[in-house]
């Protein structure tokens, strides 16, 4: 059994901004991502500004009880919300190299591994959800903004291949700021093709893939595997889109609609099957899995 299920949850939402990894999305969304909170006991809702006691947050799965705002949560925390207890088995962990020789990438990787206790921006393995066996991958924003480099691309590809081999469904929670791991350059871009092809083969095998978009799902992650689900769900108030809002604003010199690139906007425009709250997510997944048994 993994320590994940025993250790006390860590509240990433209340870290001070100095500890957070700089990332594209932080630049794009200062209001959403950088709100300071008084101390580690309290969190302030980023939408309605209500102060929430952190012990309450655990009960509500990091959703504001007042307005329903969904806080960003670490992948390991999400595992606890989604998996049947003691059923998660991780894949062989992979770590990134520095294929471009990008200055500072190795030391930043090392530091991020220590800070996040993750190998890279994905947590992936097999598990059971309401008794149904599945492959489950979760992107973690705290690792390089949840961006996809070679490790995320390879792990997801292995996930779909594992699904084909063992006739299992695949569920992926996406949540990456810039989408691409800039430091891995062209190798990062190619992971879009690699993962999209893995999904394609998986579908050819007649298997079932649920893609769940969480805040934020942008760029190369949105423009590859996460847009290719048989069913695409999203959490409320997630940022979902291809180009970052700041880029869109600078390019078009137009005022962006207030709900631009939110889950609600994507649903309205026909890009999602459903918005599902964090509280309902496990049950909805369980039902969907039960309707697609192989």
């Amino acid at each position: 059994m993994l320590r994940v299920f025993r250790s006390k949850p860590k509240y990433v939402t209340v870290r001070s901004s100095a500890q957070q990894q700089p990332s594209k999305i932080d630049d794009d969304q200062p209001e959403r991502a950088k709100k300071e909170v008084p101390d580690n006991l309290w969190a302030r809702c980023e939408k309605c500004s209500t102060l929430i006691y952190n012990k309450e947050m655990e009960k509500t799965k990091h959703v504001c009880a007042n307005c329903g705002y969904h806080f960003r949560i670490p992948a390991l925390e999400r595992l606890r919300f989604i998996c049947d207890e003691d059923t998660y088995k991780p894949f062989t962990p992979l770590v990134a190299t520095n294929p471009l020789g990008f200055p500072g990438y190795e030391s930043k990787l090392e530091q991020t591994r220590i800070n996040t206790r993750l190998d890279d921006a994905i947590v992936i393995g097999t598990t059971r959800i309401h008794g149904y066996a599945t492959v489950l991958g979760i992107i973690d924003f705290s690792f390089f903004g949840g961006s996809m480099g070679s490790v995320v691309g390879e792990q997801l590809t292995r996930g779909f291949e594992y699904g084909i081999k063992h006739r299992l469904p695949v569920i992926v929670f996406s949540g990456g700021g810039g989408g691409a791991r800039m430091q891995e350059g062209i190798f990062s871009l190619m992971q879009m093709a690699k993962t999209a092809q893995a999904v394609g083969k998986f579908k050819e095998a007649g298997l079932f893939y649920i893609s769940i978009l969480t805040h934020p799902t942008m760029g190369g992650i949105y423009a590859s595997f996460s847009s290719l689900g048989d069913i695409i769900l999203a959490e409320p108030n997630a940022l979902i889109g291809f180009a970052g809002p700041r880029i869109v604003e600078e390019t078009t010199r137009q005022k962006l609609p207030a709900d631009f690139q939110t889950s609600e906007y994507a649903l309205h425009n026909g890009m999602l099957d459903r918005i599902v709250t964090r509280g309902d997510m496990k049950d909805v997944i369980g039902k969907l899995l039960s309707y697609h048994l192989r």
Partner: protein, 328 residues
Amino acid sequence: MSTVFEWEKPLVELEDKIKELRTFITDQGIDFSQELTELEHKAERLRKEIYEKLTPWQQVMMARHPKRPTTDDYVKLVFDDFIELHGDRTYRDDQAIIGGIGVFEGEPVTIIGPQKGRDTKENIARNFGLPHPEGYRKALRLMKQAERFHRPIIALIDVVGAYPGIEAEQRGQGLVIAECIEQMSFLKVPIICIITGEGGSGGALAIGVGDRILMFEHAWYSVISPEMCANILWKDSSRASEAASLLKLTPTYLLQFGIIDDVITEPLGGAHRDHNAMGLQLKAFLRRYLTEIRKIPIDELVAQRLNRFRQIGQFQERALPNLEKDGD
């Protein structure tokens, strides 16, 4: 109007001098042929010196040269005939991507590619060659049509990125790029992708999955444009030249990395200096690689295409340390 880059100036001055001398010889009838030959040799040496040692950022600027041939120039230079086909059958015709059926050495092929404008008016009509989702939907429609009628696909790629606009987002820019990438990967026809100028991120990859991926000598291909990379790294897009070096976006690197299969050399000084020579060169490479991949049975070709991308990525396995597991 001509665009001369700073680093080209000594060469251009010398070339002007040669032109002057030629005029002088013709007008005055005095024999300066020895001097002329010397100057021409000097120009030749200088040309090599300048264009064989371009920095990555100079490469990017060459790829964006306003006189560089665009997709429809290559269509005219390389193919015997071309019938353009329009529209995505859903929303509108996006003129930032052109597509249709052309004839290459007697055989029909499907051609698709982003199209930049040559002047302001055309650039506005073509949205500066930045496609909307309907452009990619059109490309995908034409590629599927090609599969149905067993036509090889030639993708000529010159795009800085998919358009980052409000309507583009509304109509599913990310989603349609994902669909293009996925579906192109499995098409049962030979596909050749050629990055002729700019290969910017997902907007290029959307039509960049092929059996042979070739790149022009002065083209670039990366996950992000140097300007945006500099903006993210230092919040200063004027440091794009530094970012261009970090991104390793030139064909030399990409060949080393195994991302592309071959580099198509350009006339000395860049494709814009001699459109016809560039066209002939492209034609020769297309002939060679099309002949090569047509010999491969189609199922094997698709398997090879998938395997190629499956292998891309650099990472290491890490053994699980004991502290992550408990005793039982």
